[in-house]
Amino acid sequence: MHDIRHHLSDALLLGHAAGALSEAFDLVVATHVSVCDDCRAKLGAYDALGGALLEDMPETAPASGSLAATLDRLPAEPPAAPAADADATFPEPLRRAVGGDLSSVRWRRIGGGVAQAVLTRDKDGASVRLLRIPAGVAVPDHGHNGAELTLVLRGAFHDEVDSFGRGDVEIADPALSHQPVAARGEDCICLAATDAPLRFNAFLPRLAQGLFGI
């Protein structure tokens, strides 16, 4: 694995630990943490904060017979944990969201050779999609009404801010307008989540926005 240079922010890790993120952002966080032990350790510290709060929680008495009812729910044997798949391209949370690995993705072309697969979209406008950008190709210049998280799964891209390789996350705030360009040599595959629709800056891409489905 390429050395990860761009990590999740403390606000995102705390938000994931606290359960305050959208499903779209949770998926990007869980996928990055699957490949980044620095962020996994930080998330563990924020989880520990939740554990300390639980320990201090005012108690609410269980219903009568609660323990017996819980024991009734137990199966005789614990189900086996799902096997980790060392050959997979996608970490497990992403395989679960896709319903398989990279070969199972149902890509839809959205122009310029770029393809996408929308994974989830919730009623508040948050969505998460896979993007496949051919080597050397640019995604249309765009800004965000909300934040955008982009995690590189394969290949690399660069934009006005920096360059991003496998495992890196770009956290773009609403003020950033950028045009990611895939590095030469290999198609770039990213997992991108937004918590509000994107804004395209040129007229033609604005037409393409309908095709993006966002």
């Binding site: 869980a30 563990g44 520990a48 554990g51 300390a52 609660s66 189900p79 944990a81």
Partner: protein, 186 residues
């Protein structure tokens, strides 16, 4: 650390003994002790997060049943038991709201030696206890902000504050545990 039920860390029980008894011997008495301590807290957490008493009772029973079913997944060098139960309860709360399973990081496969060093596990449990005391010493406004975030009362965009808590030692300890696990996986 042998098998004494009265073993203590820093005033709290060492729950790792009970969870090992559940894992290794399916010990219902040990499970009952875990239930007595954690079930009322989990139910309180769920009610604070907006669940009705009957929903909270149902989800709490499911959380405690998960504790039994997944006892083999608990790694005391990466989380205290209260932390692990918190993550199960949090995930159940979100699953209930979303009606889908929340994305969670891939768990690391076990190496040839699944039993983590006791000293590491104990130190982590003690640090989680100390964290609880540090929370209690925070200024009220700061502590309430953290509680509101963890009890589901803040949106993502409202979570942009420093906790003001010494989380670095816990992070470093978990980082070391992960490195040990990665070495075993090679």
């Amino acid at each position: 650390m042998t098998g004494h039920d009265a073993d203590v860390t820093t005033g709290d029980r060492d729950w790792a003994i009970e969870i090992r008894a559940v894992r290794d011997r399916r010990d219902q008495a040990a499970f009952a002790r875990l239930f007595d301590h954690f079930a009322p807290r989990v139910k309180g957490f769920l009610i604070r997060g907006g669940a009705s008493p009957s929903e909270a009772e149902d989800v709490m029973q499911e959380v405690m049943a998960t504790l039994w079913r997944k006892s083999h997944m608990f790694d005391a060098s990466r989380a205290s038991l209260s932390t692990w139960i918190f993550t199960i309860a949090r995930n159940r709360r979100i699953d209930m709201i979303r009606r889908t399973r929340r994305p969670e990081p891939e768990d690391l496969p076990w190496g040839p030696n699944p039993e983590p060093p006791q000293a590491e596990a104990l130190a982590l449990a003690q640090e989680t206890d100390q964290l609880g005391r540090a929370i209690a010493e925070l200024p009220d406004a700061q502590r309430q902000l953290i509680e509101r975030a963890y009890f589901g009362e803040l949106s993502h965009s409202e979570i942009a504050f420093e906790t003001g808590l010494p989380l670095g030692t816990i992070k470093s300890r978990i980082r070391l545990a992960l490195e040990r696990l990665r070495r075993q996986m090679v």
